[in-house]
Amino acid sequence: MWCVAVAAGSFRRYATYRVATAAGVFTNTVFGFIVAYTFVALWAERPHLGGYGQAQALTFVWTAQALLAAAALMGGGGLEELQERIRTGDVAVDLYRPADLQLWWLAADLGRAGMQLIGRGVVPMAVGALVFPLALPGDVLTWGWFLLSVLLGIVVSFGLRYLVALASFWLLDGSGLSMISGLACLFFSGMLLPLRVFPGGFGEVVQLLPWAAILQVPADVLIGVRTGGALLRGLVFQAAWGAALLALGRLVQSAATRRVVVHGG
Amino acid sequence: MTDSDGTGPEPLIDVRGIEKVFSVRRKAGRLRRVREEVRAVDGITFQVPRGEMVGYIGPNGAGKSTTIKMLTGILVPSGGRLRIAGIDPARERTRLARRIGVVFGQRTTLWWDLPLADSYELVRRMYRIPDAVYRANLERCVELLDLAPLLAVPVRQLSLGQRMRGDIAAALLHDPEVLYLDEPTIGLDVVSKAKVREFVREVNADRGTTVLLTTHDLTDIEQLCRRVMVIDHGRLVYDGALDGLRAAADGERTLVVDLERELPPIEGVPGARTVRVEGPRQWLVFPAAQSAAPLVTAVAERYPLVDLSLREPDVESLIAELYARGATRAEPGRTPDGQRAPA
């Protein structure tokens, strides 16, 4: 199937950026250390903040660093290329291809994420586990649920970024929206601070937003605070946002296609 | 510095045995890597007097752009002596920059995101060009290169041909003594090419600007340069008049004969061989140095000849011939008036 080929091609392409990957791993690890120490201080002050123990909080830090590139927590993730194609009008060619635009980019994004999960995720997580006492699960099954949750999170992340990219059909300069979307993801995914630590009603609302599906849910699955019914609810929550965003993407895409046809590209 | 203004007897561009050796790491086996020396430029010597327009050609990877990079001060030679208007490019890069203009066909020297006019304004200030000179030069370039409608457009939005014209103007605003043109017509349409050539010719004729031109398009050379230098494998294999290339390359001429009827390939004509037969028409090639008259006589004596025509070798095939013979027999050290490469 062509989707697999696209994903594999994208995977291989990102595998060639070796120096950039090494540099990214280094940076992720450095940031991991810094945030980990602040969390140690924070949890020393409030031992059960957000329902996490210290080891769980530290696991959250390193999970966030490991997923940073794969789940494109700061935006980007290759969809700038689509944005550029829309801006230059090259996308008209893509729309006439038999392959569906959204599926094409989803496949490419999954390939990229797969590579970056391995290339940029494993080493920071391993370093974190060596230096800090992490609460990593011992059973394969939890790791399996975690990977599934990561996959769903990446789909949600893609859904959001795809919408942002498509907005370039209507916006003259998409960089502002990209920036806002990146910032929103950084903050509402829990990258800066776990959403469970957010105070009061605000804390409850942010856990319902789509960004919560990208990092908070997978991290909770790995840490072990989501098991049984909570695990299932988390996965359904992710899948629901993923489906909703992909459907919305479809809708916007068909509107954009009509626009291209009307304006002749 | 003696003769720092380049007006003395010293030629404007004086290159003596320059070399550029790169050390590259090559994969050898799974993990081992071997350091290897690549002599990109292997002892080149030439001089260009003020006001001359010289073509500099060679196949890809022959050392052309490495030479240009050394002449412009981007790269430092590994050996040899190099002076442009008395300046050593490696040591006084910024002083040299004020005296030369450079146009790269493949990349712009303009500020990509700024409107063309802003780029020129920056050039004016950065080169500290006197107002009167700047205005005169800009006006002239705008007029001759049709730049007026482009001045407000950011460089990244210009088409290749427009950008190239913009680049050429930028390179000339500070009245450079030497203009390096590296593939100035690459990717341009016929009209743009003609415009660029015309302008370069005029700059050379009016201003006496010395021009060194590298190109893949030999029409550029044929239309602009009387002197041509050919580089291959890092060595000059020819330096002399364009006309001299023929003799140097041992090119072949072609005699095309029309016979009365279809016949087997013509045989037995000394010095010539038949390379193609198409109905009654046949093609015979023979060395360029040989006279065609005895050949025609020989054919006419034995075959029913109706018509004939003689074709001179084109520059392209001559150069191909030069490359094919390789650089192994060439020696550096030809003077600019040397008529042929050593064989």
């Binding site: 990214g24 201080a41 502002g176 903050f187 105070p199 | 040591r91 910024t94 712009t108």
Partner: protein
């Protein structure tokens, strides 16, 4: 090569290079500012975004302090003081030299060659290229936080103490500037390694905005003696806040900022020269 005419030329070269560099830097910066302001709406949006991106960091700190009273023994105004001083220094260095992390890309796509054709030092051209006024966002955000913390801190603000704040900002800017430059020089060899310097600039900033008591001693030693970022704000700020330094260094070390900054700038300049020389001899 004739060596007898070399040294006067080199000395003269140094003097003129500095003047040429400043001149060219000013020219290019002015041009970028003008062109930025031509698209005012877009500029405002990017500046606000820059401001917001930095502010979110501080919002995270505020959220932490909604759950606690002190972090590593430091109160919110104290952490805000560290945050503001570090952010201000980084913001200024980022504004002045932030485009240098594009060097690797310039080497890769060959546009560095173009800079070598112009009669101005390459450093000035690289530093000024794409001068981004939107980075005022970070600076103003840091200034706001710093201003707030100064009014809340229990410190007697004498002229001397205020001067120390100014001095540490200048030195901090120089130190971060040296890191930007060294990182760019590193990209002469590793063209795709632009992200490494983020560890030291943005990562360093993330580190310095928290109290040193939060971090492991070895990490604090590392940023004091190896990559001396601690001189950006930690050491002088601890003195201002009347706190002991976790490494127990002698008191005069707190005032070494200018010397450390000068040393780092000299090192960065050497790295840059070495990198550029390497580029000019290998073309890559």
């Amino acid at each position: 090569m004739a060596d007898h005419d070399r040294w006067p030329a080199v000395r003269e070269g140094w003097r003129t290079a500095a003047a040429q560099g400043l001149y060219a830097y000013g020219l290019i910066v002015r041009m970028w500012v003008r062109s930025t302001l031509a698209y005012r709406a877009s500029f405002v949006m990017m500046a606000v975004g820059n401001f917001a991106a930095c502010a979110l960091d501080f919002v995270a700190i505020l959220l932490m302090f909604s759950q606690i009273d002190a972090l590593g023994g430091f109160t919110l105004p104290e952490v805000a003081f560290l945050y503001g001083t570090s952010g201000l220094s980084l913001g200024l260095a980022d504004l002045l030299l932030g485009s240098m992390d594009r060097l690797g890309r310039r080497v890769r796509d060959g546009t560095l060659d173009v800079l070598l054709l112009r009669p101005a030092p390459v450093f000035a051209q690289v530093a000024a290229d794409r001068f981004a006024l939107r980075r005022l966002g970070r600076i103003s955000q840091a200034l706001l936080v710093l201003g707030w913390s100064v009014t809340r801190l229990d410190v007697d603000w004498t002229a001397g103490r205020l001067l120390l704040v100014v001095l540490m900002t200048v030195c901090g800017t120089a130190i971060f500037g040296a890191v930007f430059t060294t990182g760019a020089a590193f990209q002469f060899w590793a063209q795709d390694a632009a992200e490494v310097q983020n560890s030291f600039t943005y990562g360093g900033n993330a580190l310095l905005q928290y109290p040193p008591t939060v971090f492991a001693k070895d990490l604090v030693r590392g940023v004091t003696f190896v990559v001396p970022l601690a001189f950006v704000n930690w050491l002088p700020a601890l003195r201002l806040l009347g706190r002991p330094d976790p490494l127990g260094l002698p008191g005069w070390v707190d005032f070494l900022g200018p010397a450390v900054a000068a040393l780092m700038c000299a090192g960065a300049a050497l790295a840059w020269r070495y990198g550029l020389r390497g580029y000019r001899s290998t073309g890559s």
